[in-house]
């Protein structure tokens, strides 16, 4: 399985910079992983998005410190963010300098747990972020999400990483999720 990916001479967009900024703060308080659409975008599928999906493991009582630190460049509608985080509620955290927002949720399913456990360290130039295993994302997008956009993302990721992905893992996740890989293998 892919453990790390290094992309040098990488042209960062404002979206990437926002993701790196949020990741560097969240990473201090919990293990986390970025899932879904941003994965296809960061590896070259230049499509529009408004949100970036983050899953975190556990802030272990540091919710207040986390909220204080992100407040400078992000905002949210919840009155009591610490309470919401402690309850593990799904939250939208908006970027003050753009239209993008973070969809933040606490790991709750077996697939969330696997995503964090087997996360990939991605270095964009020298900036570190963690993204979900490619094999899992391909299967998740086909079976659990399944919109036109998701099929496109899955097809892109499959082709882009075809020579590097763990085919055994891909089949294992496909079986677990009931993903029909023939959709993208053709």
């Amino acid at each position: 399985m892919i453990k790390s990916i290094v992309l040098n001479d990488y042209e960062l967009t404002n979206l990437d910079k926002m993701v790196i900024e949020f990741s560097s703060i969240l990473g201090k308080y919990s293990d986390y992983v970025i899932v879904s659409g941003y994965l296809a975008i960061v590896f070259g599928n230049a499509r529009e998005t408004l949100d970036v999906d983050f899953i975190y493991k556990d802030m272990k009582g540091k919710e207040e410190e986390f909220s204080k630190e992100i407040k400078k460049n992000f905002y949210w509608s919840e009155k009591d963010i610490e309470k919401a985080l402690k309850k593990g509620e799904r939250m939208s955290i908006f970027h003050r300098k753009s239209d993008w927002y973070i969809d933040l949720k606490k790991a709750s399913s077996i697939f969330d747990e696997i995503s964090i456990k087997d996360r990939i360290k991605l270095l964009l130039n020298d900036k570190e972020i963690f993204v979900s295993p490619i094999e899992l994302q391909i299967c998740y997008k086909i079976s659990q999400l399944g919109s036109d956009k998701d099929i496109k993302d899955a097809s892109y990721l499959y082709e882009f990483f075809k020579e590097k992905i763990d085919k055994k893992k891909l089949k294992e996740y496909a079986r677990m999720m009931g993903a029909d890989l023939s959709v993208i293998e053709g």
Partner: protein, 58 residues
């Protein structure tokens, strides 16, 4: 919303174009494909702003 496309329609409209894009990007260096991607994203942002200004004029 889950796709309603099936078979050939699904392949030619969703899968094939993305595979072609990924194949092209794999042939390029990171510097090249990330620049193309960044330029496209910048254009998308510009288009979004243009759409908003058109709406306001109406």
């Amino acid at each position: 919303m889950r796709t309603t496309k099936k078979g050939k329609e699904l392949y030619y409209e969703l899968v094939k174009p993305m595979k072609e894009l990924a194949k092209r990007n794999k042939m390029l260096s990171t510097k090249e494909w990330s620049k193309l991607r960044a330029n496209t994203i910048k254009d998308i942002e510009k288009m979004k702003k243009r759409r908003i200004s058109i709406l306001i004029k109406e």
